[in-house]
Amino acid sequence: MSDPQVPFLNVFGSKDHIVPQRPRDHWSTLVGSDEVTDLELPAGHVGLFIGRRAHQVGVPAMLDWIDAQ
C-alpha cells in the first residue's frame, strides 16, 4: 500500500458531532498528494450536503474544486 498521490480535498463540518474532526488533523502528512486542501464548513454531518446553507456555500465550494481537477 502506498500514499495516494492524487489531489485530495478534505471537507469537514465544524459542528459534526457524528464524525468530529479537528481543524488540524494533518491530512497533508498522511497522503502523498502535492495538493491537499481542507474545506471547513459551519455544518453538521448531514448539513454538509443538505440545507440552504450547504447549497449556497458548501456544495458549490467542493464542486468548484472537483470541476478544477
Partner: protein, 208 residues
C-alpha cells in the same frame, strides 16, 4: 470531454438520502447541472452472503470493479471520486492500495482518520468490554438500525425536534403569508405549523 464523478456513501445508514437526485437539494443534481456524468455507488442491504466481507472485499474487489465499469461507460479516461463518511475510508484505502487506478482526484466529506474515543460515533465503542458479537443479527451483519440508533443516541433531542417540526409542518396546508416592507405579500420559505399543534410539542418539551 465530460468529466465523471463517482460518489461512494457509507455502508450503513441513510446517507444516500442526501446524495440522491432530488430537485433543489441534491449535490448530485448540481454535479449533473455542471455537465458532469455522475455515478452513485449503491452498496445495497447486506445479507448472509456479505457476513464475511472485509475491507479487502470493498477496497480490492468492489471498488476496482466499480471504477473499471465507470471508465468503460464514460467518455473520460479517469474519474473524480467522492467518498462520504465511511465511504471516504473505503475510497482512501482503495486509492492507497491501487496506485495506478484511474482516479484523478479524491474528495472526502465528513470522514476522519483519527476517531476520538470520547466523541462522535466512536464514543464508548473502543472500550474493550464492547462485544461486537452482541449486535450482529441472524444474517451475520450489524443491522443498519444499530448504527442509526448509535448516532441518534449522540443527540437524542435533535431527532425529537425534527420529528416535531415534521409533524407540525405537514399539518399545514397553506403556509401563512406576511406583508413585506414593500407592501407585497411574501410566502414564508418553509411551512409554518398551525399554532394549535404547538401545545402538544411544548408539553413534551417541558414535561408539564
Amino acid at each position: 470531454m465530460r468529466r465523471t464523478t463517482a460518489v461512494a456513501r457509507a455502508l450503513a445508514g441513510e446517507s444516500e438520502l442526501h446524495l440522491r437526485p432530488r430537485a433543489g437539494n441534491s449535490m448530485v443534481e448540481v454535479l449533473l447541472d455542471r455537465g458532469q456524468d455522475v455515478y452513485l455507488v449503491e452498496w445495497g442491504v447486506p445479507d448472509a452472503a456479505d457476513a464475511e466481507n472485509s475491507f479487502e472485499t470493498y477496497c480490492d474487489d468492489y471498488l476496482p470493479e466499480i471504477v473499471n465499469f465507470v471508465v468503460a461507460n464514460s467518455s473520460a479516461d479517469d474519474l473524480n471520486m467522492l467518498g462520504y463518511c465511511f465511504g471516504g475510508v473505503l475510497t482512501l484505502l482503495y486509492a492507497a492500495g491501487h496506485d495506478r487506478c484511474a482516479v484523478a482526484s479524491l474528495t472526502h466529506v465528513g470522514h476522519t482518520h483519527r476517531h476520538d474515543p470520547d466523541a462522535g460515533a466512536a464514543e464508548g465503542r473502543q472500550d474493550s468490554s464492547f462485544d461486537p458479537a452482541l449486535v450482529i443479527d441472524e444474517s451475520g451483519n450489524v443491522p443498519g438500525t444499530v448504527i442509526g440508533n448509535a448516532i441518534r443516541s449522540l443527540d437524542p433531542t435533535a431527532e425529537f425536534a425534527i420529528t416535531c417540526w415534521r409533524t407540525c409542518g405537514t399539518t399545514t396546508t397553506s403556509p401563512p403569508t406576511t406583508p413585506s416592507r414593500s407592501g407585497a405579500t411574501t410566502r414564508f420559505p418553509l411551512p409554518v405549523p398551525r399554532s394549535s399543534r404547538w401545545p402538544r410539542c411544548s408539553l413534551a418539551t417541558t414535561g408539564s
